[in-house]
Assembly symmetry: D2
Homo-oligomer: 358 residues x 4
C-alpha cells in the first residue's frame, strides 16, 4: 500500500477508523519554521465531525500530539511524528457489515486486494483517515506562509444549488461563517436546508469544492511528468469520493476557440501578467504567477441509512442498512482536506525546485 | 525536471522538438514478452502529424529504433532504450519567437524556471515529445495483452459537437475509421468540417476524449495515496493541453443522491458484479472489475496563425503571429497518447501489486 | 531529511533521544502475516541499553505499541504505525553541550545543515533512534519466516580480539548466550573484559559484526543500480558508527587471482550450487542461493567520559567532557540493528521482484 | 530492473554489450552549465579498453552523442539523452556460453531471475555498460566544477603490491601518467609487470582503488537513511566486481579506542576544521568540510582464459574456457567509473539539499 504523499515534503500516514490511533510522519519540513500548535489543532478541528447538525454525530474531541521534530518552538528539519488517539468508537455498529460489501464503498475492492479487511468503520477507507492529511497540510501552510502562499477552498455546489464559477465574485474570508463553508450566505442557507432534507430521508448528496491558491511563485511544477496540474489533480482525486477535477475554465475549454480563451500577456511597467486567467494560473504545467484555481466534484457518501441490495463475502445476494453515524454530505468537511492536499503539493514542488546552481 | 513516469514500469523520456532526436528508456518491462516492433511503429504512426488535412502539415516519417532490452524477439527484463531521430525541422519558422512569450504557451514559465529556453518548435514543451509516450504505451500494451487488459480511447467532443456520454452506445472498433478518431461516423464528419473551418480562420478548437479500459483485474490501485483514479488522473492531466478529467458520472455526481447512483452489487451464481457502473469501475481507489472509463477535456491549441498581443523577454508589449505548421485541433492525435498513458499506468500498478506472500 | 528506508516495504522513522517518543510507520507489509507482538518486543529488548554492566546504564523499559495495520492478529496490508514513549531522560546531563560540538559526533554537521539542533542526548543522531529500525526489522523477519529466510548477526571482533573470518566455524545459536553477542564463549569473555577495562578508563572501543543470511531465493537484487550488495551496503553503512563493509572474502580479493577464488558451479543431480562461497552468496549483484555473508566495522563511540578539545558554536576553542550514560562499545547492541536492516532490505527486494507476468 | 541512479540528478541507463547501442538519459542537470563535449568524450576515453597492453584488446572507438538538453552550448534543465553505438563486436566469441553459466559471473543469477538471457558478451552485466556511468559522471563533474568540488581516484593496490593508505603522501595529478592509474611511478611499474604476468597465464587479479573528494560543502548527506557514506557506499558497491568499501580509517577502527581516533575540532580564527581526519570527512552521515576519502576492493575478473568447471542450463557438469578479449585486471579502467559514481552521488545530494526556506 502506498501511504506516503509527496517527494521532498512527505506525509506518511497510518491508522484505521476503529484502531488505536491515526497519525503519521511528516518529513522534509524545512528547519527554522515557527510551529504554531494552536493553528495545527485548529486546522484539525475544521475537519472534525459533529460541528453542526448537518454532519455526522460522531463527536471526536481529537487532539493532535506532535512527538518529534520541534525544538523550542521551531522545526528542526527532523521528521515530525504525530498521533491522534481514537476514542468514541462504536465498533458494534458495524457487526452486520463484517461479511457484507456495501455498495459503492471500498469493502469489495479491499477484500479482493488484501484477502483480509478491518470492517469496523470502514477501516482504512474511513474519512477519519483524513486527520493525518489535515496535520500535514497545517504544517505545509506554516511553511508556505513564510513564502507568501495562501490557499482557500470553499463549497461551491451542493446538489442543484451552485455558486457562480468565477471565484472572484466571492469574499473568501466569509467561508468559515457557516456550517457548509460557502462564502455566499444565501446559497449557504439553501445548501444547509437541502442537506437537512436529504439527511432526514437517510440519503446523501454530492457537490463541488473550489480551491484558490494565491501568491505562488512563477515556475512551480515540473514540465514533463510532474506538471503542477497533474500533481494537484493526483492530490485531489486521491481524496475519498472525488470523481472529477477541472482547472481554470475546465470542461468549458472543449467548446472554445484559441482566439477566445488564450491568456494574453501584458506588461505593466515591466511587471508581466496575463489579461485573463482562463488557464487557472498554470501554463505548460507550471505556475505563471496568476491565481491558481480548480474545482472538484464529490459524489454523495456511499453509506446510506436505507436498505440497499448487495452481496456478501460468500457471494450471496443480501441487503444492508448502515447503522451508526454518517455524513449526509461530505462537502463541508472536505474543504479543509482540499486545502491541506493543495498546501502539501505546493510546498513539495517548491522544495524540489533547485533548477540552477550558479 | 521530472522526466520519468511510473514507479515499477517506468518511461524516462528525453528530447526537444528541434534537437537531434527524441527517445527514452523503458525500465521494468517484464521479461519474456513477445516484442512486436511493427505494432510499436503502428502506435507511433497513430500520433504522427500529417495524417490528414485536419492535422499539422509537418511530415515526420518517424521511425522508432529499439536499442536494447530485446533478445531474439522477446523482452529480457533489461531496460529498453529507443530513439527517433528528428528530421523535417523548419527551425527558422521560430526565429521571431526567440524573445517572445507566446500567449497560453509554456514559453514564459519555462524561461522563468530555467533562465534559458530552446525556443525552436516549443523545445521540450512541443507535442513532438509525446513520441516517447507512444513507444512506452505500445510496450505496455504488449505486456497488458498477456493479462487480458484492453484500452480504447476516442474523440467524444470537438467544440459544440459532442457524443453521448455513454460509451456503450458506440462501437469502439470504428474509432480508427476516420481522421478525428470518433466512433460515430456522422458526428465524425461534423467534427471534421468544424476543424477545417477553424483551421481556415487560423484559429484552433478544443474538445474531449473518452477512454475505456476493459479486463482490468479487481484490486488495482493503492487505496490511500496511489488511488487508481489519482494515478490515471495524474497521467492524463500531464498530457499537454489537458484541463479537466472526470471518472464515471464525473461532475454529474455533484447533483446526485446516494440512493440514485450507488452501484449495487449483484451475484450471478457467485460471480460478483455491479448492476450499474456510475463509479466508472473504481471504488475506494481500486478497480472493481467493471469497465473503467473517464473523459478528459483538452483546450484549443495555444499557437494561432493570427496576430496576438503578448510581451517579450525584456518586458515590452509586442505582438506575435506563429509561422510554420500547427494543429488546429489536438484531439485526433491525442487519442493514442491517452491510450499510451493509460496503458503505462495500469501496467505499473499491476506490477506493483504483490500484496500477499503466502 | 530522508527518513524512509526501502522502496516497497518501507520504514518511515521519527523521534529524537529526548523528545516525547520515537516511532514510525511500516508500509508495504504483506497482508495475512501473523503478527507476534511478543517477538517484536523481544527484538526491541535486544537493543535495549542496561542489559549488562558493559552497556550504558540508561534503563529504558521501552514498550512498543502497534497502533494500526493489524486486525485479529494478522497484518492487513495497511500501514503499521508504532510508537515507543521516551522515559528515563536526563536532559540536564547535556546542558554543557548546547553550544559545543563534540568531536567525531554529528553536532557540527547537523548544526551546519539545519541551522538549529536539539542538543539533548544527541537529538536525532542518538542511538536511541534505532528503536524504529528494530521494530521494522522484527516485522520484516515475521514476513521472511513465511518464505524461509533466516538472518543471524554476531560480534566478530572487539578491539584486537577477533574471531576467525569463517562463520561456518561457529554455532550461531549461541550468540545470545553472552552479553557481547559472540558465539565463541572464550572470545566472548575476553571481549567482555576488554570492554570493562576500556569503560573504566572513560574510553570506548570499536569492533566488527558479521551477518549471515540463509535461505534467500536465487535472483534477489537488481543487477544494475539496485545490486543486493549495494542495497545491503547502503543499509549497513547507514547504521551509526559503521565505517566499512566487506562481502564474502572482502578486502582479501585484492590480493587474489581469479583462478583461486572463482566459485565453481557444481550440479548434484540437477541441484546447482557452488563448490566454494568466496562471493558471499552474491554474483552479478543478485543472490545465487548460497549463504549471504558480510562483515561491518564500527568505530569506537565518539562520546567519551574524558576531557576533549573542541570548539563551540561561536568558533571558540574549548574542552568538553560528556556526562551521563554512554556505551563504551556499540557492538553488542548493534547486532540486532544489523539483523533488522538486513531483514528489511531482503524483504523489500523480495517484494519488488515481479520480473515475469506470464 | 532498476536502471536509474540518483534521486534529483539521475542517470537512467540502457544497453547490452552486443546490442545496438548503450546510452541513457541524465535528468536533473542544473540549467545554465557550460557543456564541454570534448571533456565528456575524454572521460569516456579513460574507461575505454585497448588503452595499453594490460587491458582488453577490444578496440572500441566509442563516440558519445548528446541528443538533447543542450542549447547553444549550455544545459537547459531538460533531460540529456545520449547514445554510444556498439561496434567491433565479436558475438561469435560467445557461442559456447549460450547455455553455460560462467563461474562467479552473473550468468546464473540473471537466468534464474528473468528466465531469459542475452549471453553475448555478458549482456547487460558487461563492463561495457559503464559507458553510461562515465557520461553521467562527466556531466556531474561539469556541474560540480561550478561549486568547487573536485574528485580524484587512483589504483592503490594490485595483488600484493599496495600503496600507503595515506593518500596525502601522493601527488594525484600524476595518476594519469601511467596505464594502471597509480600516482606512485615505481609501484605503477610493479603493478604493470604483475598484470602482464597474470595475463600471460590466462588468469586475472584483484586490487583496490582509493577515491578523494575535495571541496565538498559542509552538511552534504541525509543524516538518517541517506547518509553520505551510505549513498557513496551504495554507488561504489554497485560497480561490477566491487566487494568491499571502507571510509577514512575503515576496518582499522575496529581495533581503535575513541581517545585515539576522535577527530578533534580546532578553530583557526573562527574557521573550524578537524586536527585529524580519521573519519574520512564524514560525521553523522554528513560531510564535515574535510577531504572525503574511501577505498574499494575489486575482485579479479571472473572470466578466465583457462578451462574451468561449471554447469549448463540443463544442470550438467561441464567445463568452459572463455574466448575473446578480456581484462586481466579491472582496476585501471575502474578508476574513472569510481570518479563518475562519486560525482553523480555528490551532485545528487547537493541538489537535494534545500533545508531552509527563510
Amino acid at each position: 500500500m502506498r501511504n506516503t504523499f509527496g517527494n521532498i515534503f512527505t506525509l506518511t500516514s497510518f491508522g484505521e477508523s476503529h484502531g488505536k490511533a491515526v497519525g503519521g510522519v511528516i518529513d522534509g519540513m524545512p528547519a527554522g519554521v515557527a510551529i504554531d500548535t494552536a493553528f495545527i489543532q485548529h486546522e484539525l478541528d475544521r475537519r472534525r465531525p459533529g460541528q453542526s447538525n448537518i454532519t455526522t454525530g460522531r463527536n471526536e474531541g481529537d487532539r493532535v500530539e506532535l512527538l518529534s521534530g520541534v525544538f523550542e518552538g521551531k522545526s528542526t528539519g527532523c521528521p515530525i511524528g504525530f498521533v491522534v488517539h481514537n476514542t468514541n468508537q462504536h465498533s458494534d455498529d458495524y457487526d452486520n457489515l463484517r461479511n457484507a460489501f456495501r455498495p459503492s464503498h471500498a469493502d469489495y475492492t479491499y477484500y479482493n486486494k488484501y484477502g483480509i479487511r478491518d470492517h469496523r468503520g470502514g477501516g482504512r477507507s474511513s474519512a477519519r483517515i483524513t486527520i493525518s492529511r489535515c496535520v500535514g497540510g497545517a504544517l505545509a501552510k506554516l511553511a508556505l506562509k513564510e513564502i507568501g502562499v495562501e490557499i482557500n477552498a470553499y463549497t461551491s455546489q451542493v446538489g442543484h444549488i451552485r455558486l457562480d464559477k468565477d471565484y472572484t465574485a466571492y469574499d473568501l474570508t466569509k467561508t468559515e461563517d457557516n456550517a457548509v463553508r460557502c462564502p455566499d450566505e444565501t446559497k449557504a442557507r439553501e445548501m444547509e436546508r437541502l442537506i437537512a432534507e436529504v439527511k432526514a430521508q437517510g440519503d446523501t448528496i454530492g457537490g463541488t469544492i473550489t480551491c484558490v491558491i494565491k501568491g505562488c511563485p512563477v515556475g512551480l511544477g515540473e514540465p514533463e511528468f510532474g506538471k503542477l496540474n497533474a500533481m494537484l489533480g493526483s492530490a485531489m482525486l486521491g481524496i475519498n469520493a472525488a470523481k472529477a477535477i477541472e482547472f481554470g475554465m475546465g470542461f468549458d475549454v472543449a467548446e472554445a476557440r484559441g482566439s477566445e480563451i488564450n491568456d494574453l500577456f501584458v506588461s505593466d511597467n515591466g511587471h508581466i501578467r496575463t489579461a485573463t486567467n482562463n488557464s487557472g494560473g498554470i501554463q505548460g504545467g507550471m505556475s505563471n504567477g496568476e491565481d491558481i484555481f480548480f474545482r472538484i466534484a464529490f459524489k454523495p457518501v456511499a453509506t446510506l441509512l436505507q436498505e440497499q441490495e448487495t452481496v456478501d463475502t460468500d457471494g450471496n445476494n443480501i441487503t444492508v442498512k448502515a447503522r451508526g453515524r454518517h455524513d449526509p454530505c461530505v462537502l463541508p468537511r472536505a474543504v479543509p482536506i482540499v486545502e491541506a492536499m493543495a498546501a502539501m503539493t505546493v510546498l513539495d514542488l517548491y522544495l524540489a525546485d533547485k533548477t540552477t546552481i550558479i
